[in-house]
């Protein structure tokens, strides 16, 4: 009896011990988290076997891997590629796997941008790239303009030069806007990424509010009222008199300042952050506007539910500052009123905001497919025309965009049959691309956060400054100094 009791006890101890071991593994502060990616490695040889017989299809050579892993931060890339890449036969209902006509599968690995999740996962995968099994390797990934420099850096070498894929940027991508090619190149001028969109910002306003306040909703007339910041302020005053807000919040105007800075946040090779005068102008102007009541007080930042609510028909917000993608991905889903209630005109200050770049990962086992996808989405004028028509995107093809401005086929139903391309093109022609650094994303996010508290009246100006310094050094430990203008 005693023995039995003992054995029962010991068995329990073993089970409990095993479980306890599992539980503890999560709480270890510094555990790597790399283990999960190793697991599928064992499947690789079996997955390779049918590859030899299954190669019945077109473009790519048959000695390529059977899985193309595409990392992205939202659905946008998948819908765009699906729209233009003819080899895709079908996509699973949950949107995670697409099958090509040669049997190759595209695995869409989507992690949200917020809180750096996307880059964390991508970095982890890229750092394991060399050891990963062929079908687990990252083949293609999306990078936003805010952090593209991090990946196109020649020393890091995670992004394949386009020329290595067999794409000649000078001839194959000749129709792209020059600045999109510049920002996608490393310090030596080698282009390592390619995009299908250029992102000149415009002002998108509510037609009904415009009629109510100014008696007209004609984009040309409204454009005069939003020509520069001084005029915009008088306009805001008029809007306020009728109970409307010019913009939803100070975060909306940030990009017009922040993307027109004179020097990069951090010079290459330096560890000093230089805060541009433009940023501080944004703070003072925003405080002015805030105190004057030109912003919707319920909205305290972008990408929040309050912000999205302010895009709906019940809102009193007159206008948003957005490039083309913002209209399609943010405004269309959040607008609940009649179609055609918005229109586009020139922003007080031209600026470029964002852009999703396609990057071929070094070590990809599907270079042929990757090349096809990049070319289909970013270097094919028919496809770029299609994307522009379907999603009202300002696509990265100069000739197509020039033609679009005077072609009624490009009118947008959401914008009340307005053709916005003239305004996009005007904005683009006067953009001076802000110099990039690999610290842009953290700087932009944290400075808005720190000064958000100040603008809301929570803390004083100097506390906001020191809060930014604390936060930025936490994010980037190698930063040694912050210089204010």
């Amino acid at each position: 009896m005693k023995k039995k009791l003992l054995s029962v006890l010991l068995t329990t101890a073993v089970l409990a011990g095993t479980l306890a071991g599992c539980g503890n593994s999560n709480s270890g502060g510094s555990s790597d988290g790399g283990t999960s990616t190793d697991a599928p490695a064992a499947d690789a040889p079996t997955a390779d076997a049918p590859a030899a017989e299954g190669g019945d299809a077109a473009a790519a050579s048959s000695d390529e891997g059977k899985v193309i892993n595409i990392y992205s931060f939202n659905d946008e890339l998948r819908t765009r590629i699906t729209a233009v890449y003819p080899a895709i036969e079908n996509t699973s209902d949950d949107g995670t796997v697409s099958t090509l006509n040669d049997g190759t599968e595209i695995h869409w690995i989507i992690n949200p941008n917020q809180d750096g999740v996307y880059q964390d996962k991508l970095d982890e995968a890229l750092m394991n790239q060399a050891d990963a099994a062929a079908d687990d390797k990252v083949d293609l990934f999306a990078a936003e303009l805010d952090y593209i420099v991090k990946y196109t850096d020649a020393d890091v070498d995670v992004a394949m030069p386009l020329s290595d894929l067999g794409i000649n940027p000078d001839s194959d991508l000749a129709d792209q806007f020059a600045f999109t090619k510049t920002v996608a190149s490393d310090a030596n001028g080698v282009q390592r990424a390619s995009t299908w969109q250029a992102c000149p910002g415009v002002l998108v306003y509510r037609r009904d509010i415009a009629k109510d306040v100014f008696g007209t909703d004609d984009p040309a007339e409204i454009g005069k009222k939003t020509a520069d910041w001084a005029t915009m302020k008088t306009t805001a005053e008029e809007l306020k008199a009728k109970g409307y807000y010019a913009f939803s919040s100070y975060a909306d105007t940030f990009r017009t300042y922040g993307n027109n800075i004179a020097g990069p946040w951090v010079e290459a090779g330096s560890s000093t952050i230089k805060v541009d005068q433009k940023i501080l102008d944004w703070v003072t102007d925003s405080k002015d506007w805030m105190d004057a009541g030109y912003f919707d007080p319920t909205v305290t930042g972008q990408w929040t539910s309050d912000w999205f609510t302010a895009m709906s028909s019940s809102s009193k917000v007159f206008a948003y500052l957005f490039p083309a993608w913002g209209i399609d991905t943010q405004m269309v889903p959040n607008w609940d009123g009649a179609e055609g209630s918005w229109a586009v005109t020139n922003a007080p200050l031209p600026y470029n905001w964002g852009g999703t770049y396609l990057v071929a990962a070094t070590g990809t086992d599907n270079p042929g497919h990757v090349k096809d996808i990049i070319m289909a989405l970013t270097g094919n004028q028919d496809n770029l025309t299609k994307v522009a028509k379907e999603y009202t995107e300002f696509t990265n093809a100069q000739s197509v965009m020039e033609a679009a401005a005077s072609n009624d086929e490009f009118n947008s139903a959401f914008l009340g049959s307005q053709n916005p391309y003239g305004y996009f093109a005007d904005s683009l022609s006067s953009i001076k691309m802000a110099p990039l650094s690999s610290y842009d994303q953290g700087c932009v996010e944290l400075i808005q956060n720190a000064f958000g508290d100040y603008l809301q009246g929570q803390i004083d100006y100097d506390t906001a400054k020191s809060n930014f310094e604390t936060a930025i050094i936490e994010r980037y430990p190698e930063i040694t100094e912050i210089q204010w203008p």
Binding site: A20, R475, P477
Partner: protein, 316 residues
């Protein structure tokens, strides 16, 4: 002789049975733990996707943590924990003694027990998201208060230190008071009914019964609650993280220690994060030791001194 050999055999099986625990502990807990401590003496982080280090820098991480706002975050953590813990322990003790009191004859006890435990079943992050939506500027709480005429202007809960802290405290209270109640009920039910009967015959009123009998006799469970709550409080992370989007708004007044640690891990700064973990380890070690000492203080004549100590702790 033969008997002895048999005993040795059994001992061998014993070790074999506990081997899996020690093996998994070694791999999943001890090695990461030692690594954490080791890296705390190194400069080791990632810049972009370039790895910097590990370079040995001695105590520099510890020094720069002391210079940073770590103590402020420790204070935040303590405040957030207290806001949640005080109502939690008071309500839990009251409910527990009501539920087990035969004379009160509470109906549907099982139902109430389930209901008060329910918040604990919701994932903390989901709970925080829910509160975030409820208390946002255009959220239902503000609109209800407005339409009732209680307030004339919307309250921005997320932009005041008081607002965020009380929300975090409320959430922690709601999530954990059911759990504590059930544990304390078990403890009170473990007290022999004879003692309660005897006290009643001696003319004890319910207050006396609670402070002189119930409290001293559930001391071990109370101590356990306190220790787990302190450790849980030190590790407070998910609720404030989700509620403030990882920023500890406003003005970093709701930034807890683990959120601070997490923001170091954004840059994979294993050195700094390791040093912070070591500090946390030391602090929780000291706290546990103090509580252990207090609760194991052998009180020769039993209840009185213990009851007093308990009373103090209960009211803290």
């Amino acid at each position: 002789m033969q008997k002895k050999r048999k005993l040795v055999n059994y001992a061998k099986w014993g070790y074999i049975f506990i081997l899996p625990f020690f093996a998994s502990f070694l791999i999943f807990s001890l090695i990461p733990l030692v690594d954490t401590i080791r890296y705390s003496f190194y400069e080791y982080f990632r810049s972009g996707i370039k790895e910097i280090g590990p370079n040995f820098i001695g105590m520099a991480n510890y020094a720069s943590l002391i210079e940073s706002d770590m103590l402020k975050y420790a204070g935040n953590t303590l405040i957030l924990w207290l806001i949640g813990f005080i109502p939690q322990i008071v309500i839990a003790l009251t409910l527990a003694s009501w539920f087990v009191d035969v004379r009160m004859k509470i109906r549907c006890q099982q139902f109430f027990k389930v209901v008060i435990y329910l918040p604990n079943l919701i994932m903390a992050s989901a709970f925080a998201m829910l509160f975030f939506t409820l208390f946002s500027k255009s959220g239902p709480v503000n609109s209800i208060l407005m339409s009732l005429g209680v307030i004339s202007e919307v309250i921005d809960f997320m932009r005041t230190a008081l607002g965020v802290r009380s929300l975090v405290g409320t959430m922690n209270f709601l999530m954990w008071f059911g759990n504590t109640t059930i544990m304390l009920m078990a403890a009170i039910m473990g007290i022999s009914p004879d003692i309660f009967e005897a006290s009643e015959i001696d003319g004890c009123n319910s207050m006396q019964r609670f402070f002189r009998i119930t409290l001293p006799l559930i001391r071990p469970i109370l101590a356990y609650t306190l220790i787990t709550s302190i450790i849980g409080g030190l590790q407070m992370f998910d609720v404030p993280q989700i509620l403030t989007n990882g920023q500890g708004n406003p003005d970093r007044t709701s930034m807890t220690l683990i959120m601070f640690l997490n923001s170091h891990l954004r840059s994979k700064n294993y050195g700094m994060a390791g040093a912070l973990s070591v500090y946390l380890f030391i602090v929780s070690g000291i706290l546990c030791f103090i509580v252990y000492k207090i609760t194991n203080d052998n009180d020769p004549d039993g209840s009185k001194a213990a009851a007093k100590a308990k009373k103090k702790r209960g009211g803290r």
